[in-house]
């Protein structure tokens, strides 16, 4: 198993980056905050290029996309602040179903073709992802909060408790699925609460830790992208902005803060790639996979918020304005940081598991 990117993945990264540079500068994210349909043209490009097909794992490893490929594409979309539901639909919703077997093949094929799905795994009052719904008498019901991408979704993937243990369930947005949209931190990536009392189109038993591992790594990849892009913007500015007769990046107060950001970024990127590689390796235990994924998500959120905050500080008053891009990065980072478990809650969970394990 490889921890770094191979040459094919590096080529994929470069091609994704080129497309997004040309078609999706940060200004598109700003437009998407006020124009609810702005995302659709970018999404059409994403789907036409086949990136949404990353949702579909196939038995043939050579021709299938592994989680590392998904990681590469999501990192670039995060860096570009692309206001598309690639993370929420392909990374999170399809990610949860990745190991669920043939019962969800049709759903994954739909998501792969560009139908937007959303993942509902936050019961009210929980910091960590959990089981928000109940399955009884063939119906799924319950309530979940802060469902990423739900206002754009046609499908909702969720977790439900049943008499036979936890299941992943898929419902179609429509009768019995009520979407409560409200203002949110990053309107370019809108979230909503959901109330469900509906008949699912697919149900499949799951192990919670192994189901949640892929969505955690996908969320981490997106945040690593945001961290890297915010840091890059801060570096650019620190090189050019002059005060006291020299570029502000020559002062150690700025220089060391950015060096620490770089450490946080590479720490998160290393953990994210290693987690993706672990999940792609059939020899990895469920516990080891979940730990690796949770640490990657925790580290990536720290890096994204940390790089975003420093970047605002480096840009000074400029970063307090709507027209400047910096708030776009930080909104995306803050919102992602609270999704699927904030960093402290994830670190706490991994630390507690470690402390409880045998010496």
């Amino acid at each position: 198993m490889d921890v770094g990117l191979n040459s094919g993945q590096l080529a994929l990264r470069d091609s994704v980056r080129d497309v997004l540079r040309a078609e999706c500068p940060p200004a598109i994210a700003r437009q998407a905050m006020t124009d609810p349909d702005r995302w659709r043209t970018v999404w059409k490009t994403v789907v036409d290029l086949g990136w949404s097909e990353l949702a579909v794992p196939t038995a043939d490893r050579d021709s299938s996309f592994g989680r590392m490929d998904l990681t590469v594409v999501l990192e670039e979309c995060g860096a570009a602040l692309a206001p598309v539901p690639l993370l929420s639909s392909v990374g999170l919703a399809a990610g949860l179903l990745r190991l669920a077997g043939p019962a969800v093949d049709d759903v994954l094929a739909e998501i792969g073709s560009g139908v937007v799905a959303a993942l509902a795994v936050h019961p009210p009052g929980h910091r960590l992802p959990a089981v928000p719904m109940t399955l009884q008498d063939g119906r799924v019901y319950g309530r979940a909060v802060a469902v990423p991408g739900l206002p754009r979704a046609e499908l909702v993937v969720t977790l439900a408790s049943s008499s036979e243990g936890p299941v992943a369930a898929v419902v179609r947005v429509g009768d019995g699925v009520t979407v409560h949209e409200a203002e949110c931190t990053d309107p370019a990536q809108p979230v909503a609460d959901v109330e469900v009392d509906a008949q699912p189109i697919a149900i499949v038993p799951v192990d919670l830790d192994s189901a949640l591992a892929t969505p955690l790594v996908a969320a981490a990849a997106d945040l690593v992208g945001v961290a890297g892009a915010a840091l890059e913007r801060a570096i650019e500015y620190a090189k050019t902005r002059q005060q006291f007769g020299k570029p502000i990046g020559a002062f150690q107060g700025i220089k060391h803060a950015l060096a620490d950001n770089y450490v946080a970024l590479q720490r998160a990127r290393g953990l994210t790639y290693a987690a993706a590689a672990r999940l792609d390796d059939p020899a990895t235990s469920v516990a080891a996979g979940w730990n690796a994924a949770a640490l990657a998500k925790a580290a990536a959120a720290e890096a994204a918020v940390g790089c975003g905050r420093t970047a605002v500080q480096v840009h000074g008053a400029l970063a307090q304005t709507w027209e400047h891009d910096m708030h776009l990065y930080l909104r995306h980072a803050w919102q992602g940081a609270s999704t699927l478990g904030d960093s402290r809650a994830l670190y706490h969970a991994v630390g507690r598991r470690f402390a409880g394990s045998a010496a």
Binding site: A299, G351, F354, A355
Partner: protein, 376 residues
């Protein structure tokens, strides 16, 4: 390359180490870690068996392994708490410098006794007025016929009083820009005019600092290591080699610290126990990030790509090491006070952000060389 995969080679190494170590090594590790006799014997045996410098030839304590395999061996050695080299400056820093820059005669005379641990080495770098500003050193070496005459003073020179040799950095061209006027000389510490004063350490330590006073010391001109006025490159290249090793040492110490938190009674029984879990998780992330980054850097190196991420290893590893022992102390509660092993760990970890380039210098390196920010 593989990640944490147990290969036949690693199994062979593990069997060799187990065969070498005393049966009660792990039960009595707290005593054995200070056992210089055992550590010397281990170094010599590792040299013979080709595990000391796995990428080098059998004549030089290796097996001509690739970088990836060598890293697996080093990680395995670290995970199994293999006895620490008694004079790490020798095999870790001086040896790669001699191998890269030495003349055939120097390599022939010096390398094997060094690698076997028969002759110890000190690094004559820091001076009272030249610490982080290494290039500002003032020790002077003046060419006089077929020798250099050296006058000056070195300090924080680890184990000089037990060493036979010293890689001495001295100014050979006072008129050149400061990086370009330094040469590296191989100093026989038994030479007339060399006075070595050990300095009492704040903690228990077998890596004692010394002050080395050089009063008109004569060094043969053929003891020059590398080109004249090329000492900066010799130093940077030697330290770079050390930096690639340091993270593995840090990583295993961090693992030991994490286990100590897990095994502390108070982690499980005290009402405040939950308080440590978030920091524990964050440190687990640091440890895993070190390993993943070490592998990524190696992958890039093997593929002939730049590996900028390697420059975070020293900074992240040393800071994490300090945090982990502080957490260990917190998790032990008042039991930390009478735990002198823990005291040693905490004091020892404080050195990690200083030696081999301080954290502040590491941040400057990252900011200026990787991020391209201007020099201050």
């Amino acid at each position: 390359m593989s990640y944490g995969l147990k290969t036949d080679l690693v199994a062979e190494y593990a069997a060799w180490l187990t065969g070498f170590l005393p049966n009660d090594y792990y039960e009595r590790y707290r005593e054995y870690r200070w056992d210089i006799g055992l550590r010397r014997a281990h170094q010599n045996a590792a040299f013979e068996a080709g595990w000391l410098q796995p990428t080098w030839s059998p004549a030089h304590g290796g097996r001509s392994l690739g970088l990836a395999e060598a890293m697996e061996i080093r990680l395995e050695a670290a995970m199994r708490s293999a006895p620490k080299l008694p004079n790490v400056a020798g095999p870790g820093v001086a040896a790669p410098g001699i191998r890269q820059f030495g003349t055939a005669a120097q390599i022939d005379r010096l390398l094997v006794p060094l690698l076997r641990g028969d002759e110890w080495w000190a690094l004559g770098m820091s001076e009272p007025e030249a610490g982080s500003d290494f290039a500002g050193l003032r020790t002077r070496a003046v060419r006089d016929g077929d020798m250099f005459r050296v006058k000056g003073r070195k300090i924080w020179t680890t184990q000089a009083h037990q060493s036979r040799w010293c890689t001495l950095y001295a100014r050979t061209d006072p008129d050149a820009p400061k990086h370009r006027g330094i040469s590296c000389l191989i100093l026989d510490l038994e030479s007339p005019g060399v006075t070595i004063e050990p300095i009492r350490m704040a903690s228990i330590s077998d890596e004692t600092f010394c002050e080395v006073i050089l009063d008109d010391v004569e060094i043969p001109a053929d003891s020059l290591l590398g080109p004249v006025n090329g000492g900066w490159q010799v130093a940077m290249s030697s330290l770079n080699h050390e930096r690639q090793m340091i993270w593995i040492m840090n990583w295993v110490e961090i693992q030991r610290g994490l286990s100590s938190v897990r095994d502390s009674q108070a982690t499980h029984d005290d009402y405040a126990s939950g308080e440590v879990f978030a920091e524990l998780g964050s440190l687990l992330a640091d440890a895993e990030a070190l390993r993943a980054t070490g592998y990524r850097a190696l992958n890039n190196e093997l593929a002939g790509r730049p590996s900028p991420e390697a420059d975070i290893l020293k900074l992240l590893g040393s800071q994490t090491l300090q945090r982990v022992w502080e957490l260990s102390a917190a998790a032990a509660g008042p039991r930390s006070i009478d735990d002198t092993d823990l005291l040693f760990e905490r004091q020892d970890a404080l050195a990690a952000t200083i030696y081999g380039g301080t954290s502040e210098i590491q941040r400057n390196i990252i900011a200026e060389r990787l991020l391209g920010l201007p020099k201050g």
